[in-house]
């Protein structure tokens, strides 16, 4: 079951981003704030941000699309990031990722049908000494093997 909240209104978007308007270089903090609020950067925010910051809509889109971390649709209730960088690959990260995705029956950036978890690739969590590494809702987990992955997945309800 995919959960789709109604798209935020312009007032709601302004409510989230306006407190950041006085920052120097406010666009990225605003995008983070939007993603924190809704789990993604809603398309409706593009013209609003362009208006607030007096930018072209294209420029705002250019920034959002540059960062893979910004989603254009809501993620599942939990986000599992698997490190794809060299150190983790050398420690079996690739096989771990393959088996995890296969188990969940989804691809990269996919969300499980029950809406519990979204799996995303990430390039280096700075946890190379404990490779292969993962991150669950912002919390890093090291030395992930199949058993540990089982625990993670049951924890997030996948």
């Amino acid at each position: 079951m995919q959960v789709h909240a109604p798209a935020p209104t312009e007032e709601e978007i302004r409510g989230v981003v306006m407190p950041l308007a006085s920052l120097e270089g406010p666009l990225l903090p605003m995008l983070h704030a939007l993603q924190d609020a809704w789990g993604y950067v809603p398309q409706e925010a593009v013209p609003v941000l362009a208006d607030i910051l007096n930018l072209g809509r294209a420029e705002v889109h250019g920034v959002i699309s540059f960062y893979h971390d910004f989603r254009d649709h809501p993620a599942g209730r939990h986000v599992l990031k698997l490190c794809r960088a060299e150190a983790c690959q050398s420690m079996g990260g690739h096989a771990l990722a393959e088996s995890t995705l296969q188990r969940l029956g989804i691809g990269w950036h996919g969300t499980t049908p029950n809406g519990a978890v979204t799996v995303e690739p990430v390039y280096c969590l700075g946890l190379c000494a404990c490779a292969p590494a993962a991150m669950v809702d912002g919390r890093v987990v090291g030395r992930v093997d199949d058993a540990r992955m089982d625990r993670i997945l049951s924890e997030v309800g996948a």
Partner: protein, 977 residues
């Protein structure tokens, strides 16, 4: 696609050198370096790439172009510099003294080939069928670096990852994006894109619209117009063509080139749309125009263009264009096509007959602000030398005649004081009653560039125009005044400057009449002129007005640009005087970066005024009552000139209704649609016995004409246009006139037919250069202007004579033309046009980017995709009171008349104000405007009409009323065919 801006000619370069120097010219101390053994001296800050180009050595490049800052992304322009490690990009490396650069070596060649191989590995090799074949920088660079092979081959089990193949063996290529053909004039084919970012940077740096971006990153980087879901048409793109110009491949390509092939010859000429006067290269195959490309050495546009000049030339070939002369005895008859001789004999007999019956002064002419100087000169000569009266007027009557009066009285000459380059050194720009992003887009781009560099902006306009706030541009102060209160606002600004002691006393003492200043200072210091006192009247918050006045007076170089929002009022002339006063008060006149600049509407409205189109002035703004001036022309023309000024357009129409004015020769102007109070214009035209319309199309005025003379387009004739900066630009014939004659020849045919009737000596001009010789011989400000000078210098700004042989970019440098500058008091007098219970809203009119004036040209091009009909902008507050929703069909009524059109709800206009355009005859916004006009010059008060807006029953109801109206007008006057 190889012509880009060089802001200043490099010393020693040929003036018509079209090479792309790679990076913009810089100014600075001279630096000498050696490139491939050649010593070259360039200004400090110049890139190694540009220095090499000036030495004649073109370093291979793809992402660099000399109309935008260096970007350093393509890595093709690498060079070796002695004493430095590595291979720096020559575009981003500034020169240093004594630097020794090598642009060729084995290492560099290998690197460049390697880079090209990568580019070509993701580019379709369909050169022979590609629209850019022969005009492609990627192709050129592949040749320049000696690319012979691409080593990147697809592995056996899968295809090479690419963006250009629609299918990749396994199925649909997920990286392939289809062509975007949404823009009517150019296509965007992502398959050919090398992601050099030139289009994105051109949109930002040259045009200032920020409609494009690079989306994604790495291999997924793509050029994108707008955000998700947008194509070029729905994005913020204004179709200026800068991206198409910048594209080194066929990714952004004119549809006309795709259809017609690569042009093989080009002619440099001048755009026939607005008063910016952009220079273009008309590129052709034979007599087939393929495209118009902005000319990088054009001094008004510096290589930039807008959607009209760049793309909207299709009207020249439109099926509506009339190519044969036509006549009829009465306007209820159908037109009859005849030969030129018969048309001329018919017209001459009619006009002479009218003069015999009703007197010498019963006929007149209206000159065209779209025709050349030479043609306009002949038309006013026709009325003065052949008709024997001064009944000549021009559409400047209805636009900038108050500029002529106001600047003439204060400064002594009737023209803007600066060249367009001047804006690059302005610190505070004040725009009053002008909408440059729509009306003068190329100037607006140059202005926006300066604003992005930090200049500050004050906008005085009832409407929140795009320049008030758009991407990366924001006015420091927007004073949204109530229409009709310009004088009060300008006088209040002077009040602040005088009472707060912000005026430039030294300037005023040396340059202006001190007694007049004191009188003026006393006048404006009166507390009744304070911002607080006029706040209720103007609707402008006093604090804002004070802040704006302080900024203009103290912010550095202050430049004023104004438009028809100043002049088209009952106090238009007074506002112009008030603006001139402000500039003198603050010493903002007579140097670069300052000045008072009318943004003139039409391509040659400045020239039409210069050429003696007004009934009281001979060419060069000299009054007809002056015997010595008349003597010059009497001698040149072999005739006697009437010392009495003739009739203005409104007087002609009044006299026609009264029965004393019976014949009119109207060249290239549609007074029925463009002049105010359509009912009155129609009645005047209908009362005449011979109306000769000389135009490209059967315009609305032609419905009342007896003779139709088909005109030639700007592409079909030689001559000159004079733009808003007094710049005389050459118009060159790029193809033969489809109607058979250039317009000056047609006027000469008419003159000679008339002269034959009376036995006068015929005119014998064989080329417009002879007409310019006559203008130069009779008019001191044009004394030095010849076609040879124009060929040599490209263009000159008048005055151009023995004292200033190179022309005059800046006016009033050492003193005003009139000697001392004159301060004049500017008492605010409210217009008689008032809102009341019946007509509670104020309507103001204007125009939009894609359409031009009455739309006769632009309505006959693809530009209609942006503006298919006139709409009424109304504030949501006013709309709600009337139950009007966005898109509703509404009735717009004033005491003069009414029309119906669609309403758009927007807070661009304040409550109490509505706004529309007058581009479409189906709407005829001027049915609503009134006959009030400027007290000094009769310039109509288009900008203030009291109106009421109410819901209408939709188009069918409107059709009904329109039918009735047409029938009504048919009773007194009958439409054509």
């Amino acid at each position: 696609m190889r012509d880009f801006i060089i802001p200043q000619y490099p010393p020693g370069a040929e003036p018509h050198d079209d090479r792309d120097m790679g990076t913009p010219a810089k100014q600075g101390a001279p630096v000498t370096l050696t490139v491939d053994g050649f010593a070259i001296t360039v200004p400090e800050g110049t890139s190694v790439m540009r220095a090499a180009a000036e030495a004649g050595i073109m370093v291979p490049k793809l992402c660099a172009s000399d109309n935008m800052e260096a970007f350093g992304s393509c890595r093709l322009c690498v060079v070796e510099i002695e004493g430095r490690r590595g291979t720096p990009a020559s575009c981003t490396t500034p020169v240093t003294e004594g630097m020794v650069v090598h642009t060729q070596s084995d290492k560099l060649r290998r690197m460049r080939r390697g880079v090209m191989e990568l580019y070509i590995s993701d580019h379709p090799l369909d050169c022979l069928t590609c629209a850019a074949n022969g005009d492609c920088e990627l192709q050129d660079m592949a040749g320049a670096v000696g690319l012979r092979d691409v080593r990147y081959k697809a592995p056996e089990d899968r295809p090479l990852l690419n963006h250009f193949a629609q299918r990749d063996g396994a199925g649909v290529n997920a990286h392939y994006l289809p062509k975007d053909e949404s823009n009517p004039y150019f296509t965007f084919d992502p398959a050919k894109c090398i992601v050099c970012s030139r289009c994105v940077r051109a949109c930002e740096e040259v045009q200032g619209t920020f409609a494009l971006t690079i989306e994604g990153r790495g291999f997924d980087s793509r050029v994108k117009a707008g955000a998700i879901g947008d194509d070029f048409l729905t994005s913020d793109c204004v179709s200026c063509g800068a991206c198409v110009q910048a594209c080194p491949t066929a990714t952004l390509q004119e549809k006309s080139v795709i259809e017609l092939g690569t042009p093989e010859r080009s002619v440099i000429t001048t755009c026939a749309y607005c008063g910016v006067g952009c220079s273009f290269k008309a590129e052709l195959n034979g007599d087939q125009l393929v495209r118009m490309v902005p000319y990088k050495h054009g001094k008004a546009n510096r290589g930039h263009s807008c959607v009209k000049g760049r793309f909207a030339y299709g009207y020249a070939q439109h099926k509506d264009r009339i190519l044969k002369p036509m006549i009829r005895d009465t306007i209820d008859q159908p037109w009859r096509e005849v030969e030129w001789a018969e048309a001329m004999a018919f017209a001459a007999a009619k006009l002479r007959g009218i003069q015999e019956r009703y007197g010498r002064k019963s006929v007149g002419v209206i000159t065209s602000s779209r025709c050349t100087n030479e043609e306009t000169y002949l038309v006013q000569k026709l009325t003065r030398a052949v008709f024997g009266n001064n009944n000549t007027d021009t559409c400047a009557r209805v636009c900038h005649s108050p500029t002529g009066y106001g600047l003439g009285k204060t400064y002594g000459t009737s023209a803007g004081t600066q060249d367009f380059d001047s804006v690059e050194q302005a610190d505070v720009v004040m725009i009053i009653g002008a909408n440059p992003t729509d009306g003068h887009p190329v100037f607006a781009s140059r202005l926006k560039k300066r604003l992005r560099q930090g200049a500050r902006l004050i906008v005085v306009d009832p409407r929140r125009t795009d320049i008030v706030r758009s991407a990366h541009v924001e006015a420091t102060h927007h004073l949204p005044l109530k229409p009709g209160t310009n004088v009060a606002v300008v006088t209040a600004m002077a009040h602040v400057i005088v009472t707060e002691g912000l005026f430039d006393q030294d300037f005023i003492r040396t340059r202006c009449d001190w007694d007049e200043f004191q009188f003026y200072a006393d006048f404006v210091s009166d507390p009744r002129h304070s911002p607080e006192a006029v706040e209720m009247l103007t609707g402008v918050p006093a604090a804002d007005l004070r802040a704006a006045a302080r900024l203009y007076a103290t912010g550095g170089n202050g430049a004023i640009y104004y438009g028809l929002g100043v002049t088209e009022h009952s106090q238009g002339s007074t506002t112009v005087i008030g603006i001139a006063n402000l500039a003198m008060l603050t010493g903002n006149i007579g140097r670069v970066g300052v000045g008072v600049n009318p943004l003139r509407g039409q391509n040659n409205v400045q020239g039409a005024c210069d050429m003696g189109s007004f009934p009281h002035e001979l060419p060069g703004y000299r009054h007809v009552k002056l015997p010595d001036v008349r003597a010059i022309f009497e001698q040149a023309w072999g005739c006697t000139i009437d010392p009495e000024p003739g009739l203005r357009i409104p007087n002609m129409l009044d006299a026609a209704v009264e029965g004393t004015f019976k014949g009119l020769y109207c060249q290239g102007e549609d007074i029925l649609q463009s002049d105010p109070d359509t009912h009155h214009v129609a009645a005047g035209l209908a009362a005449m016995e011979c109306v000769i319309v000389h135009d490209l199309f059967l315009n609305e005025t032609a419905n009342y004409a007896h003779v139709f003379l088909p005109g030639s387009t700007f592409l079909e004739k030689d001559g000159t246009f004079t733009n808003a900066e007094r710049r005389i630009n050459r118009v060159r014939k790029v193809m033969a006139p489809r109607n058979g004659y250039e317009d000056w020849e047609i006027t000469q045919l008419l003159a000679n037919a008339l002269l034959k009737e009376t036995g006068g000596a015929a005119w014998h001009y064989t080329h417009p250069r002879q007409i310019m010789e006559e203008i130069a011989a009779t008019t001191p400000s044009f004394a030095g202007v010849t076609y040879e000078v124009l060929e040599e210098k490209g263009s000159v700004q008048w005055p151009c004579n023995e004292t200033v042989p190179d022309g005059t970019p800046l006016m009033h440098v050492d003193g005003f033309v009139s000697g001392k500058g004159h301060f004049m008091v500017t008492e605010y007098v409210a217009t008689d046009e008032r809102t009341g219970p019946r007509f509670p809203l104020l309507m103001t009119t204007g125009r939009i980017l894609s359409q031009y004036n009455v739309g006769a040209q632009t309505r006959r091009t693809e530009n209609v995709v942006w503006h298919p009909e006139d709409v009424l902008e109304i504030n949501p507050h006013d709309a709600e009171q009337r139950g009007i929703k966005d898109g509703d069909w509404v009735r717009l009524a004033s005491r003069a008349g009414e029309t119906t059109l669609r309403a758009i709800l927007t807070d661009r206009v304040a409550a109490g104000v509505v706004y529309t355009t007058f581009h479409h005859p189906a709407t005829q916004a001027n049915v609503v405007t009134t006959d009030f006009s400027d007290w000094a010059t009769n310039c109509p008060e288009y900008k203030v009409t009291a109106v009421q807006v109410s819901l209408s029953n939709g188009p069918s109801d409107w059709q009904e009323r329109y039918g009735e109206q047409a029938e009504r007008s048919r009773r007194i006057l009958t439409a054509a065919e």
